[in-house]
């Protein structure tokens, strides 16, 4: 075992951290306040080569690895949880299934645009009656000549204002989960539209939309994998997506911890920095320890994926632990800031609002426990 990041990974961290400080941090509070998704920031990430970190150069990627990817998501999330999830959903949820299951044509046509960042990607699985029970979805796809016709609605779709969507629909109602198929949908396809934008507690600068398919025409060559492969594709995509969310939670926790640590050393009451009170320093010690553990679990899951070793249990553990830790850490960070922590003029209340969703999406932490319990049962 080696617990040191390679020089390359350290360099990527440094590069993304500097980018995040310069291009993302200054507008984080304002974008949250105004609920504004910034396509400009996404374009700048594309310019930095971040939008295709793990993919091969032949597809327009940076030719790096999944560990570099989670480090990038972590560093972005440290200053802006919304920006972190924008990149995570783009890479893990949209690009990955095309990379893994796409034909060479599909990869050249779609993965390239996603990797280069000229297109923003999203993943359409969830529906009003199909959250944790994704198999209960109702969006359906019927063959019609050279096309599939999609009808249905998806909700809570991150990057819903994007360009390319991996969408799941039922092609055979009689087969349950085995009757679900995956499709690559472009926003220009007739019959596709973005419905409402979700009004959220946090990650307000992340685009979260309803997607509406009304006799949406999807060419047959946009079927991803084979008919009936959809559920498997959806679930395996979430495995890697969990690493991205673990990294997002880790970054949010890191940002909150640093802010609280700094505040506690500057703020004086009773004639001394409040850090001097064990109540505060011990709280910070617990926060630091949980971040350390979150980081190791997250990097381990990314490393396993990169090594093409089984990573399902590791990614569920990383997502579960890092998101629970982020919720606790950000809540305590607000506490350490006292009255100021509750004010929107300070960043920690935003971090607390952002942290909450990481315990819920891409598989609630209850689902993560279910997944882990299946692995440990053997």
């Amino acid at each position: 075992m080696n617990f040191q990041l390679s020089a390359e990974h350290e360099m990527i961290r440094k590069m993304v951290r500097e980018f995040a400080q310069k291009e993302v941090a200054p507008t984080a509070a304002e974008r949250d306040e105004k609920e504004e998704f910034s396509r400009e920031i996404f374009d700048k990430m594309a310019g930095m080569g971040l939008t295709g970190i793990p993919w091969e150069e032949q597809y327009g990627g940076a030719g790096s690895d999944f560990l570099a990817y989670v480090i990038a998501v972590e560093e972005l999330s440290r200053v802006c949880g919304s920006t972190g999830v924008t990149l995570s959903a783009h890479i893990s949820l949209c690009s990955w299934p095309i990379w893994k299951y796409g034909t060479e044509e599909q990869k050249q046509k779609y993965l390239r645009r996603l990797a280069e960042g000229s297109a923003l990607g999203a993943y359409g699985l969830t529906e009003p009656s199909a959250g944790t029970d994704a198999g209960a979805m109702r969006t359906n796809a019927k063959v019609d000549g050279d096309n599939y016709i999609l009808n249905g609605t998806k909700i809570f779709i991150t990057n819903g204002d994007g360009d390319i969507f991996v969408v799941f629909a039922i092609t055979d109602k009689t087969k349950g989960a085995k009757g679900i198929s995956a499709f690559i949908v472009e926003k220009e396809f007739p019959g596709f539209r973005v419905g409402g934008h979700e009004k959220k507690l946090g990650i307000r600068a992340s685009s979260t939309c309803e997607l509406v398919f009304e006799d949406c025409i999807v060419p047959k060559e946009n079927l991803l994998g084979k008919e009936g492969d959809g559920f498997k594709i959806a679930m395996s995509t979430l495995d890697g997506g969990r690493n991205g969310i673990a990294a997002q939670a880790l970054g949010i926790a890191q940002g909150a911890f640093e802010a609280a640590l700094s505040y506690s050393q500057g703020r004086e009451q009773f004639g001394q920095p409040i850090f001097n009170f064990q109540a505060i320093s011990f709280m910070l010690s617990d926060m630091a320890t949980k971040i350390e553990a979150s980081r190791l679990l997250t990097y381990q899951a990314a490393w396993l994926e990169q090594q093409q070793l089984p990573y399902g249990k590791a990614s569920a553990m990383a997502k579960l632990y890092a998101s629970d830790a982020a919720m606790e850490i950000t809540t305590n960070a607000v506490q350490i800031f006292g009255g100021y922590g509750y004010s929107r003029e300070y960043p920690v209340e935003r971090m607390m609002r952002d942290a909450k969703i990481t315990q819920i999406y891409e598989g609630t932490n209850e689902v993560q426990r279910l997944v882990i319990s299946r692995y440990i049962k053997g």
Binding site: D133, K200, G339, E349, N365, E366
Partner: protein
């Protein structure tokens, strides 16, 4: 010991609950977004006599006991946490200071109007450099003939800009430390007194919270509350009762969040059955219910002790700390149980989570509460 509310208290509790659900709850979401003082609701509370529940009848109050007041705070907060704290601040730290420490003239001048809800009360202690360390306050009051001249500023003042009278803590001589702290009753339109910026907060948005500024603000000596140097004692004694009120607010928030989560868990189906059928969810709700039960007992115990003149410092702090930590925990879990919908502003639980957080911080952070408890333990109390 008796673990049943008296018929009288049970009836009051029911009445407060029905009133709050009908007249306050339907406006809570909108008031959070508007972030304005809910003047209409406060008028309704005044009309019902809820603005002076524990105030003696001779001063225009309902003359009810402290537990009755606490039950009201609980049920109002359950409907809208912002309204709950406005009421709690108005009574516990906006009216009680005058009732307990005022001269007969001061009491006659202010208490009946406060009890009727004609006047709104507020409490101004906190400053940028004086949070947990309240005694480090710097707002000064200099004697000048028959007046005092006040200079300084306060922050995070609930009801700021909407109160008619503010109980303000100053120092007449900072070299005296806590023994120089002196309280004054400052009327809203006093020249030299002005309301500064409105705080932009995570939650409790209808509880308008502002800076207040004193620039050569001249008040007659007859506005001084208690004697010079008594101010710190006044502030600390008020906080005990205030803590029980905030405990009740936390309890109300927790109950509201739990009710939403329980209802949703029994209605929302996945995998062909209500999600309540999953042990993970059922056990979460069981834990939430248990903590609320314990919080309720701690809050009602503190109310009982205050009513009966029993030493209550430790119990009031325990009630505040436990009930507000419970509110934070229950509201956060409620969002979890509602899943993606819990995160949406179209559902009430994310607001409850935002509202809950401040209850762990104000009127003495939960770290200060632990300090108070620890000191009591040290004394063998």
């Amino acid at each position: 010991m008796q673990f049943k509310l008296s018929d009288q208290h049970a009836m009051m509790h029911k009445m407060f609950h029905e009133f709050a659900q009908k007249e306050i709850a339907p406006y809570a979401a909108e008031n959070d977004i508007k972030a304005e003082f809910p003047a209409e609701i406060m008028k309704k509370l005044g009309a019902q006599g809820f603005m002076g529940i524990p105030i003696p009848e001779e001063y225009g109050g309902a003359g009810a006991d402290f537990l009755t007041y606490i039950l009201c705070i609980e049920e109002v907060s359950r409907a809208c946490a912002s309204t709950g704290v406005i009421l709690a601040v108005h009574t516990s730290v906006g009216t009680f200071p005058i009732l307990y420490f005022g001269t007969e003239e001061q009491k006659r001048k202010y208490v009946p109007k406060l009890a009727a809800g004609e006047y709104i009360g507020a409490f101004a202690l906190t400053e940028p450099g004086a949070g947990s360390d309240a005694s480090a306050l710097r707002t000064s009051a200099k004697r000048d003939g028959d007046d005092y001249v006040i200079n300084g500023s306060k922050i995070f003042i609930s009801n700021g800009g909407h109160a008619d009278v503010y109980t303000v803590f100053t120092t007449v001589d900072s070299k005296l430390g806590t023994k120089g702290i002196t309280a004054f009753l400052v009327d809203k339109d006093t020249p030299g007194f002005k309301v500064g910026s409105i705080e932009k907060k995570m939650g409790l948005n209808a509880d308008v919270t502002t800076e207040i500024i004193f620039e050569d603000c001249r008040v007659p000596a007859s506005q001084r509350l208690g004697k010079e140097g008594e101010g710190f004692k006044i502030a600390m004694s008020l906080l005990d009762g205030g803590r029980v009120g905030i405990g009740a607010q936390g309890l109300g928030i927790a109950q509201a969040a739990y009710d939403e989560a329980l209802k949703y868990a029994q209605f929302r189906e996945q995998f062909g059955q209500p999600i309540f059928n999953n042990q993970a969810i059922a056990f979460k709700l069981a834990d939430m219910a248990t903590r609320i039960e314990a919080a309720r007992l701690l809050v009602y115990q503190a109310a009982f002790r205050k009513e009966n003149g029993l030493p209550n410092g430790k119990q009031a702090s325990m009630a505040k700390m436990f009930a507000t930590d419970t509110a934070m925990y229950v509201a956060t879990e409620a969002v979890q149980i509602l899943g993606g919908y819990g995160y949406s502003r179209e559902y009430p639980v994310e607001r409850l989570m935002r509202d809950a957080k401040i209850t762990q911080i104000y009127e003495g952070t939960n770290q200060i509460q632990r300090l108070v408890i620890a000191k009591a333990l040290e004394k063998g109390l």
